[in-house]
């Protein structure tokens, strides 16, 4: 594996390998000295064109735990602010010969483009509303830690699916691992054609939520109100909020964060025993360590040998062949 760009490109075997690796890193996290020398001397660049707390911090901490040198770039205050193109920024950063570039950008396909412009491994930390593969892997890891396997598990993803890269990556990852996925949300926020495109079920109300083993709630952004996707937060919460009444005692609750308390989740369920939200954040670190390890030190990733330049010089015009 060279890049991690989308769950869509992942085989089950590749996903399993990352998840197993993450389990071995969980042990490292329990030591006093939580650092291994695996990536010593390798450079990792984290390039974030969008604000992020947990994804950027956990990738950065993961890189440090693996002893890599980390350069962290936020779009604000960098050359990006001065209108430099993604391609030029990639060239500039590639001049440092990084082993990996972790990128988040507000446009779909940005990470894939960067992968075409650099020799580094590229990790998509979120591209527009397209994919967020490391989130999906950490969610699978979290669920496997609780359930053992996702085979046959019924997972409902509830909320604003249209604007959610987490929903897209998770539904693919959950399906890849054998789960049955249902998307649920207001009809205005379920993208047209998603059921046919992915083979998931679509519901517009929570009436059958009891059938779910896992409820995965999505963040409801406030600006959706002004775009008339839903009439009001009040009506949204009345129809789609996961609360004590709706969440059964044997159902697990997940959320990618940050949570809008009182909107998609009632405060009492966030801190309930069924909630895996804190476990998700913990998983984030070990899964991202595993991703970096798999791409940069994994068994089938032979780093192209870049020794000194070849001695022979190209023939010059006029020189006999």
């Amino acid at each position: 594996m060279r890049h991690l760009l989308a769950v869509e490109d992942l085989s089950r075997e590749q996903a399993e390998r990352i998840l197993e690796r993450a389990e071995s890193f969980a042990e490292v996290g329990r030591r006093d000295i939580k650092k291994v020398p695996t990536l010593r001397g390798r450079t990792i660049i984290s390039l974030f064109y969008e604000s992020s707390t947990r994804t950027s911090s956990s990738f950065e901490l993961a890189a440090k735990r693996l002893s890599a040198d980390l350069v962290s770039i936020k779009a604000v205050g960098s050359a990006v602010d001065k209108g430099e193109s993604l391609k030029d920024t990639t060239s500039t950063l590639s001049a440092y010969d990084p082993a990996a570039i972790v990128i988040r950008a507000p446009q779909a396909g940005a990470a894939k483009l960067v992968a075409g412009w650099t020799d580094a491994s590229v990790i998509n930390a979120g591209d527009g509303k397209h994919e967020h593969p490391s989130q999906a892997l950490l969610d699978v890891y979290t669920l496997r830690g609780r359930l053992g396997s996702l085979e046959g598990t019924r997972i409902w993803i509830v909320g604003d699916v249209s604007h959610s890269r987490v929903a897209r990556s998770c539904l693919l990852a959950f399906k890849l691992m054998g789960a049955e996925v249902t998307l649920c949300g207001p009809p205005t926020l379920i993208p047209r054609g998603i059921a046919d495109a992915t083979g998931v079920a679509v519901r517009y109300d929570l009436d059958e939520l009891a059938e779910a083993d896992v409820v995965y709630a999505l963040r409801m952004q406030r600006e959706r109100m002004s775009e008339s996707f839903v009439p009001s937060l009040r009506e949204y919460a009345a129809r789609y909020q996961i609360d004590e009444r709706r969440l059964g005692p044997r159902q697990l609750l997940m959320h990618p964060g940050p949570v809008n308390r009182g909107v998609e989740l009632a405060p009492e369920v966030i801190d309930s025993p069924q909630s895996l939200i804190t476990a998700q954040v913990e998983s984030g670190l070990v899964v991202r360590m595993a991703i970096l390890y798999e791409l940069l030190a994994g068994s089938d990733r032979a780093r192209p040998d870049r020794g000194p330049a070849p001695a022979e010089t190209p023939p010059r015009i006029g020189q006999p062949a």
Binding site: A108, A110, G128, H163, R192, A197
Partner: protein, 456 residues
């Protein structure tokens, strides 16, 4: 009140009148009911004679072109190209754009007016028309804007623009959002006389969409442009045209619902013509799965069902003509994430080869139908379709129908290379184009063999 009297519609750089004989080619012109092997004699830029093979006498000093196994068609007319002049010459100019047209077998193109500044005054129109006299290897007609600054608010001085040579009017690139403004323009057509060509899209429904709304956009998380964004505007504008007894031309149809609206309007007696592009006829939104900005255009590539409806419309005549919507862009405008990329693709140099390869050779479309649709594009703008008959100006394209080639293998005549067909192997290559009596294009290797034949 008489209609405004138009100046000559098409302008081209003056050059030598063609003198040649094309011997033994299959000559096909459905409008002239002609499909036979002939020798074509061109004298003084006019078709002088269509003779039985071997029977033609070459005029003194005429070039002799061996045409055995080749195809001669009336050259094509594109009602919709962007030549980017004035203001965006880094993308294309009249010289490179018409060279691309000539290489694609076109004998006339109609340039859109969404330039910088837009062509919304007689002064700007006059300046581009004058440049065409020095730079255009293929005759160019220019449309002028419907509204000032393409802002959709106030009408341009359409009568004066018509007298100054506008072949029609269009705010292409943008829809005319206000039904009231379009209605005034249609009423004013009784004075100005030029057809109004319409980019149909409801901006409220398109929103910030960047591709077709469907299964692919759902998975990619890209905002979609629904097919109804186009078809509802077509329905509105056909109703207005019927009410005002006006003539409209609908640009770049992309959806089944749009074809159905136009068919309904034609049946109801609306004076409406319409066009479809080679890319909409041969590609679908599946191409966008790659997130390659080379497949970003407006209207977007739609579903297979939409594509089939376009083909059916082209076949049954609901769609009157093929238009490339040739939209050159600089590399840096396409080497960005899909959502940021400029919309549009180039088209002139391979339109025939694409449709010949994808529709004619598999038996989906008759060659005769394709020729009719590729030559009709000027008619909505008052420019008659070229014909192959004695006495007509020579507007001819010589094609090797069996020649395989790879798009982009020799670069492009256009300044831009944002082709959505780059790297594709196509069958059928333009070898020579004669436009308005002048040789506008010769394929290099072909020219050498022709010269050898003359020498031998």
């Amino acid at each position: 009140m008489m209609m405004a009297k138009p100046s000559p519609a098409l302008l081209q750089r003056p050059g030598d009148a063609a003198e040649m004989v094309i011997r033994g080619a299959r000559v096909l012109d459905p409008r002239a009911d002609l499909d036979a092997v002939r020798d074509i004699v061109v004298r003084g830029g006019e078709i002088a004679e269509l003779a039985e093979p071997g029977a033609a006498e070459a005029p003194a000093g005429a070039e002799s072109v061996g045409g055995v196994g080749l195809l001669v068609l009336p050259a094509f007319v594109d009602p919709h190209v962007h030549l980017r002049v004035p203001g965006q010459e880094h993308k294309e100019d009249l010289e490179t754009g018409t060279r691309a047209a000539a290489a694609g077998g076109y004998c006339a193109v109609i340039a859109m007016a969404n330039t910088e500044p837009p062509i919304d005054s007689a002064a700007v129109l006059g300046s581009v028309r004058e440049r065409a006299l020095f730079e255009a290897s293929v005759p160019v007609g220019f449309v002028a804007n419907v509204t000032q600054g393409m802002a959709g608010g106030e009408l341009t001085e359409m009568a004066e623009l018509r007298e100054a040579g506008a072949v029609g009017f269009s705010d292409d690139g943008l829809p005319i959002r206000s039904a009231r403004v379009l209605r005034r323009a249609l009423q004013y057509q009784r004075l100005s006389g030029g057809v109004i060509a319409l980019h149909e899209e409801d901006p409220d429904l398109s929103g910030d969409g960047v591709m077709h709304e469907g299964e692919v956009s759902a998975v990619l998380g890209l905002a979609g442009v629904p097919a109804v964004s186009e078809s509802t505007m077509i329905a509105r504008d056909c109703s207005l045209a019927l009410y005002e007894r006006a003539r409209i031309h609908i640009q770049h149809l992309s959806a089944r619902a749009s074809v159905e609206e136009v068919a309904r309007a034609k049946a109801a007696g609306v004076e409406v013509t319409c066009e479809a592009s080679p890319h909409h006829l041969t590609l679908t939104d599946e191409a966008v799965r790659s997130l390659d900005a080379g497949f970003k255009m407006n209207p977007p590539l739609r579903s297979e069902d939409d594509r089939q409806a376009l083909i059916e419309g082209l076949r049954d005549g609901t769609i009157d003509c093929v238009a490339t919507d040739h939209a050159p862009h600089a590399p840096e405008e396409k080497e960005v994430p899909f959502e940021q990329a400029a919309m549009g693709v180039t088209g002139l140099e391979k339109a025939f080869a694409v449709l010949h390869t994808e529709l004619v050779l598999p038996g989906v479309l008759e060659l005769e139908t394709l020729v009719e649709r590729m030559t009709f594009g000027g008619e909505p703008f008052g420019i008659p379709a070229p014909r192959i008959e004695p006495g007509a100006p020579a507007n001819l394209v010589l094609i090797d129908p069996a020649k395989e080639w790879v798009v982009g293998e020799d670069g492009y005549e256009s300044r831009a290379f944002n082709s959505c067909f780059a790297g594709r192997t196509l069958t059928g290559r333009v070898l020579m184009t004669v436009a308005a009596g002048q040789v506008a294009y010769r394929r290099r290797s072909f020219a050498i063999s022709a010269a050898a034949e003359v020498a031998g």
